[in-house]
Amino acid sequence: MSTTEEKVKAPKEPLFSKKNKRLITDPLSDNNPITIQVLGICSALAITVQVEQAFWMSVSVIFVMVFGNLIVSLLRNLIPSRVRIIVQLVIVASLVIIVNECLQAFVPDVSEKLSVFVGLIITNCIIMGRFEAFAMSNKPFPSILDAVGNAIGYAWILVLVALIREVFGSGKIWGAAIFGNNLPGEESGLYALGYVNNNMMILPPMALIVVGVIIWIQRTRNKDLVEEH
């Protein structure tokens, strides 16, 4: 019980040190939660039929993730490790309820389309994964950065997949027709030339294939990602 012992203070890190920057940039490409860790695939398949849905889903996930990571990180020394999963679940569930209420209040039609998938953010593997892997053992500020990085890494893949699927599956971007009118009998634009929307793009298997192609391109560009076998 020596009172002379001085607390060794770690040298203060700059707010956006190299390490902190990497927390944001890594998940965007080389450690992307969807294409590299292959987490959160369920929602990438389910709600990427239209860009609008994917966008609001992404916004919801970013919100839940940032605040969830922050809260878990603040509480990390108070949470008994034996019940940590339950505590994390309570936190993420409360945040999801807030998001759901907001969506219902401000964008009711989108909320209707997303239906159960907003509630299912609770079970999104990325969120619980970041709580466990990062927020439980890091300070609040890096936790926020980690959350922003991972959530945006998730979001841009989601929106990209949705863009491809909406353009080729329904010939629209954010609900606006881009190839012309495809009502039978009054076709215009590309449809008048015999173009037909690709129905398979709307089916979930195609989302899996699109994600697979993105992974393929990513691995071709960065050979370090390819596992040895």
Binding site: Y195, V196, N198, N199, M200
Partner: protein, 425 residues
């Protein structure tokens, strides 16, 4: 031939590593091995040598498909003019007879089918070339067969751009992703067909695509088919037996008709002999069982296809057809079992699709199981799920995925059998 060989041999050093045209080596290799066997010899391991390489094996399959292709061309022409005869009885009235107007039908069929072949080969080979250049090898032979299979399993009226898109999808997603020829998990041609089936269902199913020019006839006749004409296939009619409004060859039959009546009507419209010769509407190459069996004979004679798979595929279909007869819950289930084997793409699938050496089971017992279950599943899908009138495509794709599992259990069974023998000894 000798002079040509000399020319190629003289060119050889220029394409070798360090040569003038080193970058063009894939192109050179492709063209030269088309004409002559490759100059490379096996360096170690294998002791059995044979002049037959992959390219020649594949070519045998293409030759085996020619009867089906020729018949398909004529059949396409016939059904086009058959429909015209309803619209324009004075001019084409006699054409509803199968052999009348032979020349017209051949010409029409050629103009309808050859573009499909050209598009399929053009798109597929172009993609193979691109991947070959990127990966530094010659054109892989696998597409020779796929490129011919794809047009044969399409309705003759399918828009060419769709064939192009489907071929591109099948080659890239079905094959190149996994590493090219010989590495694919599912059959390439069936991948192309499945893609079209799910992506553009209006061009691949229903009752407006099987006779070339149906949509034109409908447009010329105030939006409906002429009286007595029908655009459905035998399978399409059979699928309607399960629903509320059974149809046979365009004629709606009273809802309360007994299944015996329905079957009798069906047999009247699709005579078994006609179905075996192939005088029924359907995809280009799938209708004629005789043409397909000619091809099968060549494949079996040259040892390219496995007789185990073909035989067990037919057996599986027949046995499951009999099983359906036993249940007999609706008219479709009461269909005589042999009918399943002669209508739709059953024979074509058994001979040309299921036997694909890359995607089928490799073990001898495995091949029997693979074929039997494939044929059975095809009948099950046909009868139990009227949403998919043609079950052969889905059945073979499914069995392609199951093939490694079957092989695994065959090998394991062999190991445990030998272990037991060792213990008792």
């Amino acid at each position: 031939m000798k002079a040509l060989k000399k020319v190629i041999q003289n060119l050889d050093p220029k394409f070798e590593k360090g040569g003038k045209w080193e970058k063009m080596y894939p192109l050179y290799e492709t063209l030269s091995t088309f004409l002559f066997t490759p100059k490379h010899v096996t360096k170690k391991g294998a002791h059995i040598r044979d002049g037959v390489d992959l390219k020649r094996t594949m070519f045998m399959v293409v030759i085996a498909m020619i009867p089906a292709l020729l018949f398909g061309i004529y059949n396409t022409g016939h059904w086009h003019y058959e429909l015209q005869s309803y619209l324009n009885p004075e001019q084409y009235g006699a054409y509803s007879d199968y052999l009348t107007g032979f020349g017209d039908k051949v010409v029409y069929g050629l103009f309808q089918v050859l573009p499909l072949v050209i598009v399929s080969y053009g798109v597929g080979l172009a993609i193979e070339f691109i991947f070959g250049f990127v990966r530094g090898h010659g054109l892989h032979e696998g597409f020779l067969v796929s490129g011919m299979l794809i047009p044969l399993i399409m309705p003759a009226d399918v828009p060419l751009w769709m064939v192009g898109v489907a071929t591109a999808f099948a080659v890239v997603i079905g094959k190149e992703v996994f590493g090219g020829t010989g590495m694919n998990i599912v059959n390439i041609a069936l991948t192309a067909r499945a893609f079209l089936f799910f992506a553009y269902p209006t061009a691949m199913s229903g009752d407006k695509v099987w006779k070339s020019g149906t949509t034109d006839v409908i447009a010329a006749n105030d939006g409906i088919l002429p009286d007595g004409a029908s655009g459905a296939t035998a399978l399409g009619d059979l699928a309607s037996f399960v629903g509320d409004a059974p149809v046979v060859a365009g004629e709606t039959i009273a809802e309360n008709a007994s299944s015996a009546e329905l079957i009798q009507k069906f047999e009247g419209a699709y005579d078994p002999l006609h179905a075996i010769i192939g005088m029924i509407p359907g995809s280009v190459g799938e209708t004629s069982m005789i043409a397909i069996l000619l091809g099968a004979g060549l494949l079996l004679y040259t040892g390219v296809a496995s007789w185990r798979i073909i035989l067990s595929f037919f057996a599986g279909g027949f046995v499951f057809g009999l099983l359906m007869n036993l249940i007999g819950a609706n008219a479709y289930m009461d269909l005589p079992a042999y009918y399943h084997l002669i209508i739709g793409g059953f024979a074509f699938g058994a001979v040309f699709m299921a036997t694909d050496p890359v995607t089928a089971s490799q073990t001898q017992y495995g091949k029997l199981w693979y074929g039997f279950l494939g044929g059975g599943l095809a009948v099950l899908i046909r009868v139990l799920n009227p949403a998919y009138p043609e079950g052969v495509m889905l059945a073979i794709l499914f069995m392609n995925i199951m093939a490694p599992l079957i092989d695994h259990y065959v090998v394991q069974a062999n190991i445990s059998r030998r272990k037991k023998r060792f213990k008792t000894a």
